[in-house]
């Protein structure tokens, strides 16, 4: 046994290559792929708080199994709460993506057009918040937007308002938090794309009589398409299932699916239902993820050329 192992390890290039591939592959298969398969299986099992794996392993009665299998999904499809929550998660994720794009595109554009000596500093300053606690930064918005918070305090003392605005636990506070948290994920791929852009295209456009605005819309934007799509997907996909931000900044009107999943699992102890909710989320984000993969690969290849 040991000698075979030794043999395998000392055989250089080919087995070395195989070893290098298999280590991360096996790890990902065990900690990422396998868990999803288990979730998928549990989502088809019967609701039973005591033993969620109960009838999972037995295939005694095919007809019975089939009936049990889709019950959770039928319930999700027929129950207004679930449908509304999925729709509202998608809505908030879409609005977040839109605002990140509207703020992030000009931001990345001006970063990319800054002097080359300043650019690394600007980039570093976008990355730096990543290194400080996400949880605490979201928590800080609570203090900024609360009724006795900084914004209200400021507006009151300026005399612009006579009563504190109700900003916290609304759609507004949720969206501020989401845009805030995901903005760097939009900026970074856009910047990476825009900074590589060949400026001669714009010079050519100007020579041919295009105004800067025309050149922007007809050259810069189309050329940065893969950055726009990658950034949008990087924001949209995690935003759909976001849990922490709605929990801290959202309110009764901000239904999000992450919260429902959490509740099904931790409060109702309904593991099969939580699994079904998760499977539907995965199905929802599957297409965006495929798009992301495609454009990220494209951007990488573009970077290589």
């Amino acid at each position: 046994m040991i000698s075979t192992l030794k043999h395998m390890l000392t055989l250089r290039w080919i087995t070395g290559r195989r070893f290098v591939i298999s280590v991360p592959f096996a790890w990902l298969a065990a900690t990422f792929l396998l868990p999803f398969l288990i979730v998928a299986r549990i989502s088809f099992s019967e609701t039973d708080g005591e033993n969620p794996f109960g009838n999972l392993m037995t295939y005694a009665d095919g007809v019975f199994n089939l009936k049990v299998k889709i019950a959770n999904y039928l319930f999700i499809a027929s129950d207004d709460l679930y449908v509304l929550t999925y729709l509202s998660s998608i809505k908030f994720a879409l609005i977040t993506t839109l605002f990140c794009l509207l703020i992030g595109y000009p931001f990345a554009y001006f970063m990319a057009r800054a002097k080359s000596t300043v650019r690394p500093v600007l980039l570093m300053m976008v990355m730096l918040p990543f290194w400080t606690s996400f949880l605490l930064r979201i928590y800080a918005w609570k203090g900024i937007l609360a009724n006795q918070g900084i914004v209200n305090h400021l507006l009151l003392s300026l005399g612009w308002i006579s009563e504190p605005l109700h900003l916290m636990n609304t759609q507004f506070s949720l969206l501020i938090g989401m845009v805030y948290a995901y903005l760097p994920f939009m900026i970074l791929p856009l910047y990476a794309n825009l900074v590589k852009m060949d400026m001669r295209f714009l010079e050519a456009a100007a020579d041919l009589g295009a105004t800067p605005l025309q050149a922007f819309w007809r050259i810069t934007v189309p050329l940065s398409k893969s950055g726009i799509i990658a950034g949008s997907m990087l924001v949209f996909i995690p935003a759909v299932g976001e849990y922490v931000i709605p929990e801290l900044l959202g309110g009764p009107e901000t239904l999000m699916i992450g919260h429902v999943l959490w509740d099904e699992f931790f409060t109702n102890n309904d593991w099969p239902m939580a699994s079904s909710v998760a499977v539907v989320v995965i199905l929802l984000i599957l297409v965006p993820m495929a798009i992301l993969n495609k454009y990220q690969a494209e951007q990488r290849e573009g970077g290589r050329a």
Binding site: I103, S133, A140, V244, F265, S275
Partner: protein
């Protein structure tokens, strides 16, 4: 005229953007020194919340646990991420490559509640079969490593991509074996990426709530879990103090390491150009 306008518009946009990104951080730090319990009204300088923090056993023990998990996570994530990045960058063709690259990057965007739920359900089934592992620090570490590895892969892969292959080819021509090439040429060239991946995954782990909540057992509350449960209830000035301290430590770490790395890089470049000149 238009270019003037454009320049100032650009500067204004960037300034507002950075203000937006940094406002919460500034607020946290400033109000950690607020003397008032009254949430967000400034009423004088005080360090009482730092003092209160020293006697907050829940946060202190949570911090200890988080720190242990974060160090382990950073090491394992960088190790696995380097493997994955190397595979993705160097091995263009092998069976399952599409699946592999998908799995390597999916945790980056996959909502954490889903990763947490699925990992937990897997661990429970494993536990049913083999009687271990108990939920606790080890299971949290497992989840964090899954997430951290994806980040480490991105960081290391982008460095491997931009690194010039000619050095490795030269080493190979001079008779180095692939393993020697990796340890003598590739690795020294990517140390900067490894360091930033380590720091990134370290803070990622130190910060994570959702995965930790799913994967922690009784009595293993990490610091973010403690903070999150308090933040849900309302504002707690001690949390501001924690924030200010972590920001301080992390900024020192990041700035120091990037200065050190920049110096090392300059030195290396100098040596390389000297070597070329000297022939």
């Amino acid at each position: 005229m238009t270019s003037m306008f454009q320049r100032w518009f650009g500067r204004g946009w960037l300034s507002l953007g950075y203000l937006f990104l940094y406002l919460p951080i500034i607020v946290l730090v400033v109000f950690s020194f607020n003397s008032s319990r009254q949430d967000m009204v400034w009423s004088g300088f005080s360090t009482q919340w730092y003092a209160a923090l020293m006697h907050d056993d829940e946060i202190i023990s949570g911090f200890g646990l988080s720190l242990r998990i974060a160090v382990m996570t950073a090491c394992s994530s960088v190790l696995l991420g380097t493997f994955a990045a190397f595979v993705l960058d160097r091995y263009r063709r092998f069976p399952g490559r599409t699946l592999f690259s998908g799995m390597a990057s999916a945790p980056l965007v996959m909502p954490e509640v889903i990763i947490g739920l699925s990992l937990l359900l897997m661990l429970v089934s494993v536990q049913k079969m083999f009687g271990f592992p108990e939920r606790g620090a080890a299971t949290i570490w497992l989840g964090h490593t899954l997430l951290g590895m994806a980040y480490a892969t991105v960081v290391v892969q982008s460095r491997l991509q931009e690194m010039s292959k000619s050095l490795e080819e030269a080493a190979m021509d001079l008779g180095c074996k692939p393993r020697q090439v990796f340890f003598l040429v590739t690795l020294p060239n990517i140390t900067q990426a490894l360091a930033s991946a380590w720091l990134l995954t370290f803070t990622l782990s130190l910060d994570d709530v959702v995965l930790s909540a799913f994967l922690s057992g009784p009595g293993s509350s990490t610091m973010p879990i403690v903070i999150f449960s308090r933040a849900r209830l309302g504002l707690d000035p001690r949390v501001n103090a924690v924030a200010a301290l972590t920001i301080l430590v992390v900024s020192i770490g990041v700035i120091a390491s990037s200065l050190y790395m920049a110096r090392a890089e300059r030195l290396r470049q100098k040596q390389i150009s000297a070597a070329f000149k000297g022939e």
